[in-house]
């Protein structure tokens, strides 16, 4: 029943193939379950082998999920991901939102909490919205919503009076949003701040003063290329310098 692969943790390049070990003894009494393997980003199926299509580190999550962890700057929309978008146009009943992808997404004015045809949400051009993808595939125009499946906002919607929006790589954003994130816990000990993280590589920061906001923005942008030790050293230096 174990699907194991020796190449987990190795750096793989596009075109590399790998397959899985089959069990050597097939029992005649116990029914054989077919093993399903879930391919994540960076892997494609080719017959019964998996072919790598992006360069990166092969990761594995129990029981049967494999994906390639790659460093990328350009965002490709996927259903269910929450992103920070900028409203660029209002055409009829729909807002056009730029999220950094290959085309703009549409956001209906009814997709806000408590919005009806008479009670329109207060959204202007240039506003920042935190929204989730409802439709995101390669063939259709992406569609965003600011409510979850039960109709509640759940933190989504228009935000951002003051504060600073900047771009980072997608890998840093995933590290920030991971359940036990070292970067986030290091940041908590610095200054109190408000942070909105979009999976399209955009982060919005607001802190007590403009200087602190800029410091946090610079720290996050430089944390991309540092190891954990260097990052902790830098954070400690900033903490001592500020107080």
């Amino acid at each position: 029943m174990d699907v194991s692969c020796e190449r987990v943790g190795e750096v793989l390049l596009p075109g590399d193939e790998f397959s899985f070990e089959a069990e050597e003894n097939i029992s005649l009494t116990v029914p054989v379950k077919s093993e399903k393997v879930v391919c994540g980003p960076g892997l494609r199926r080719c017959g019964d082998r998996l072919v790598v299509c992006k360069s990166g580190v092969l990761r594995h999550k129990e029981p049967n999920v494999f994906w390639i962890d790659s460093q990328q700057r350009r965002y490709v929309p996927a259903k269910g991901e929450s992103i920070i978008g900028i409203v660029t146009a209002k055409s009829g009943d729909v807002f056009k939102v730029d999220f950094g992808g290959s085309e703009q997404a549409s956001l209906s004015y009814l997709a806000f909490e408590g919005a009806t045809k008479r009670n329109r949400p207060n959204v202007q051009m240039g506003d920042l919205v935190f929204a989730q993808f409802l439709i995101a595939n390669k063939d259709m125009e992406p569609e965003l919503v600011c409510i979850d499946s039960s109709g509640r906002a759940n933190g989504m919607g228009v935000f951002g009076t003051g504060g600073l929006l900047f771009r980072v790589s997608l890998g840093l954003v995933r590290r920030l949003l991971a359940p036990q994130s070292n970067i986030r816990s290091d940041l908590e000990h610095l200054f109190p701040c408000e942070l909105v993280v979009g999976m399209n590589g955009r982060i919005w920061v607001k802190s007590a003063s403009v200087q602190q906001t800029l410091i946090i923005a610079n720290l996050l942008q430089s944390a991309e290329t540092m190891t954990a030790q260097q990052r902790q050293q830098l954070f400690r230096k900033v903490q001592q310098g500020a107080f």
Binding site: L13, P14, G15, C53, V57, S102, K138, G171
Partner: protein, 219 residues
């Protein structure tokens, strides 16, 4: 730089660097001896309605020479690079988007087209665009006395009677693109292809080592 009896293939020293430009989605610089090319990739991004293709991405390649404006020679180099990239990228995953690849020639000391191909492949990998296989470029020159020289310098290219560039893919070592100049026999062409396939092994191993070094911090 020279080959005797096609037993050993020697290439000039090469080096590369990834992610050196800050505003592009992917970038790389490739150096072969004294020839050096920098590549930048943008994509998948918005495309003009007149250029969009309904079921795959539109790939645009621009080659900028070191001095002057791009001319017909750069246009033919662009076509060679574009055909190679279209054969190895999975363009159907990003319909109605545009991918732009810009190659800047920093110094030309021979084997320019193969250096452009290598820089392009590293930049596409750096940008995270889905590819079905890698590709590399190898240039061979046939001198006046029939010797095959791989990775020739500009001086060797001038004295040769034939110059060939092949793009080799990593999956089956097959030829994706060939660009030839001069006169040669069929037998010499087949020899050059065999020599290029052998040289491509070194280049692919170099790709693997440099990507491994890049990801070593996060392992």
């Amino acid at each position: 730089m020279e080959v005797c009896g096609s037993l050993t293939v020697s290439l000039r020293e090469f080096g590369c660097e990834q992610s050196l430009l800050s505003r592009t989605d992917g970038s790389a610089s490739f150096v072969q001896g004294d020839t050096s090319v920098m590549a930048g990739v943008y994509g998948p991004a918005e495309v003009k309605v007149s250029k969009e293709i309904y079921d795959r991405a539109t790939l645009e390649v621009l080659v900028q020479p070191k001095v002057g404006l791009p001319s017909v020679r750069e246009r033919s180099q662009e076509q060679c690079v574009r055909e190679t990239c279209e054969a190895s990228l999975l363009l159907t995953l990003h319909p109605r988007s545009s991918l732009t690849l810009i190659l800047q020639v920093l110094h030309d000391d021979g084997s320019l087209l193969s250096c452009c191909l290598n820089a392009a492949c590293m930049a596409l990998m750096d940008a995270g665009l889905p590819m079905s296989c890698l590709f590399c470029g190898v240039t061979c020159a046939i001198s006046t006395d029939g010797q095959i020289i791989t990775d020739p310098t500009a001086a060797q290219e001038k004295e040769s009677r034939a110059l060939m560039t092949f793009a080799i893919d990593s999956a089956k070592r097959s030829v994706l693109m060939s660009s030839t100049k001069g006169s040669f026999s069929v037998h010499e062409l087949q020899q050059c292809i065999a020599v290029s396939q052998k040289a491509s092994e070194k280049i692919f191993q170099f790709y693997r080592d440099s990507v491994k070094r890049r990801y070593s911090k996060s392992l």
